[in-house]
Symmetry: C2
Subunit: 386 residues, 2 copies
């Protein structure tokens, strides 16, 4: 269970949106509350990804039962389909997708720079071809904000240039653009009910990361993201960047490590001061027949599971583990039944959401070191048994 | 809401499994309770189909919320994959698929006779090739029972020969076999916690149908099915068969019209004494982007729905209609998101389950004629508007 909210005297007004209450720390690790117009996000938190305004294969009711505190959607995808103006006409993203909790929209920066030869970038913005129909489009910082204001998420992201993390020259050049664009995004922003997060870039280069953190912290956005990691660098390099950034980022604002979501990465990230995570990993793995546990991964397509009457993880309390065996899940996979993607998505999301909730509780209760120790022991044990 | 169960004095034992309480009639229409080891089925009832031990794209929790009183699975499919013995080792179908309510397994007769040139039939049974891998198999009445005893459903079906409904000579020949096989199924049966239903055949030929009803009623099975309809004959021919069978079937046992599930067919069937229905229609339509309402059908892929902020059916109380617009559902369809199949399956199943629950209430309250009149008016009105 997630930790309960702190007591508040009756009649006391809720805090202003976008204030961050730091409730406890343990080393660099932090437990906090980030207030949004759609309720508080208890941190550390893992956010399921709903790229196209749906977390693939699960309903909003199932997400609520999972205790999801924040979900993501993607401005690039929704701009192309069904169109951000259409979403606005339908009452905004919360109403459109039936999710009453906090939502974060990514600006599209990462997607645009993943298009490779389908885009050209200049100081003003990015011209690109739609991955759907090849049609020509252009995103500028101002456009990225306009799209996200139409979508209406609680947290919006600045448009950034995502450079290859090991290329120093490109990172230097991209950083200047990312900083200029963050400023333009802030200037273009009109909705007071949305928090803009700027995105710290700089690849694996500590001096660039520190320069980025200093510049972007100075903009006064209610939160900061760490972009450009988990895209080709080593774990050690990622950890070094997080460790260097910890003292350079304002302690009173949440830190969001973009695109990171393996269990071990959540544990390492929290220990280095990260408050928010997101990743398509749990739902993508689910559609590839794999179950994610704290101890490792199971490919449920494998033949030995055909007669395995245990749940995916006997320690897990998710809907899938409470009701179904590995044998049943394997049957669904082999029989090409959609329910396997739903049940595995529920399980995999539960693994990550529950892990961040447990990390939060350990920080609040001053026993993070013991928790991390037990987590690592469990993984070593599972490797020995495998 | 389904009608509530009748009051029972505290401490009074539950009725024996497989007794049918006829609670009210209205013309030929009946409202009743069929008791099974996994709870009573309130009739008339529509049963969602879970061919491969899953109602496609919905979880058992969602089925429970829909008020499903009975679900189907298929002996032919489960025999081939994952294997009925494997299901038995996993504790039987209820436990395997996480469904604690009543289950009915079809014997596989319909599937075997649909295989056409992949099977040969003789008086002893049917030899066939698997539709999965071409391997050779044989079903006899005894084997069909053994498979269904391994699966462990509450209601099992006799193996029957499904003849083309308009071919008199074939129906005469098939009927003799269907009757002999029903007797052999009854003799082979060993589990007292399963009710075997015999299947009345005879195509569109009233004399054959009456002969079948008389023979099979005499076997004393706790229920009777009506097979071989909705497979090529006209609606008028189907209605004539049902009307002729009404007085020929024992009033104190449930009547199950196999494979029938369009809203108008449920209303017509109930008026002719049918208690149970099943069909893949609602879930198959859902995967083909179509929504089923009492008034008709909507293809939500169509462009005008892109900006339609109404729910599928403003009168409907299902999860999909309470939370999502046609615009959102169309977006999911166009974006190839699995959630569309889940939400449309929920809606389509709700339409049929709620319709049978409303028919039941109308019978119990003595206002079936008015209900049917209003139902038909609604359809005519929708056609006028379309």
């Amino acid at each position: 269970m997630p930790a309960s909210l702190p007591d508040r005297a009756a009649g006391e007004p809720s805090p202003q949106p976008f204030t961050f209450e730091l409730q406890a720390t343990s080393g660099r690790a932090r437990a906090g509350l980030f207030h949004t117009p759609h309720g508080p996000i208890l941190t550390p938190a893992f956010a399921p990804v709903g790229t196209q305004a749906t977390v693939k294969a699960v309903t909003p009711d199932q997400l609520r039962e999972l205790g999801a505190g924040l979900i993501l959607a993607n401005a690039y995808h929704l701009y192309l389909r069904p169109g951000d103006e259409r979403v606005a006409e339908q009452g905004g993203l919360h109403r459109f997708m039936g999710w009453g909790g906090p939502i974060l929209t990514d600006s599209g920066g990462f997607q645009l720079f993943s298009l490779a030869d389908q885009r050209t970038v200049d100081d003003e913005g990015v011209s690109f071809r739609s991955h759907l129909d090849g049609s020509l489009h252009r995103f500028t910082p101002e456009k990225a904000i306009a799209v996200q204001e139409n979508l209406g998420a609680d947290i919006t992201m600045a448009l950034d240039e995502c450079a290859e993390p090991l290329d120093r020259a490109y990172n230097e050049q991209a950083l200047a653009r990312t900083h200029a664009w963050a400023l333009r995004c802030l200037q273009a922003k009109t909705r007071p009910d949305q928090a803009l997060f700027a995105i710290v870039q700089g690849g694996i280069f500590i001096d660039l990361r520190l320069q980025s953190a200093e510049f972007l912290s100075g903009l006064g956005t209610p939160g900061l993201a760490i972009g450009g990691l988990s895209v080709g660098e080593s774990k050690g390099q990622m950890h070094a960047v997080l460790e260097a950034l910890h003292p350079a980022l304002p302690p009173d604002r949440p830190r969001y490590l973009m695109g990171v979501g393996a269990p071990e990465d959540l544990v390492e990230g929290v220990q280095r001061g990260v408050d928010l995570f997101d990743s398509v990993l749990p739902t993508r793995m689910a559609r590839n027949d794999a179950a994610l546990t704290r101890a490792g991964r199971l490919n449920l397509r494998n033949a030995p599971y055909a007669d395995d009457e245990r749940p995916i993880d006997p320690e897990c309390g998710c809907y899938a583990c409470r009701h179904f065996s590995r044998a049943y899940l394997r049957h669904l996979i082999i029989a090409h039944e959609m329910l396997s993607a739903t049940l595995l998505s529920i399980h995999n999301l539960h693994t990550l959401i529950q892990l961040t909730a447990d990390l939060r509780l350990a920080i609040l209760q001053g026993r993070l070191a013991q928790f991390v120790h037990a987590f690592q022991d469990q993984r070593v044990q599972a490797e020995v048994e495998a």
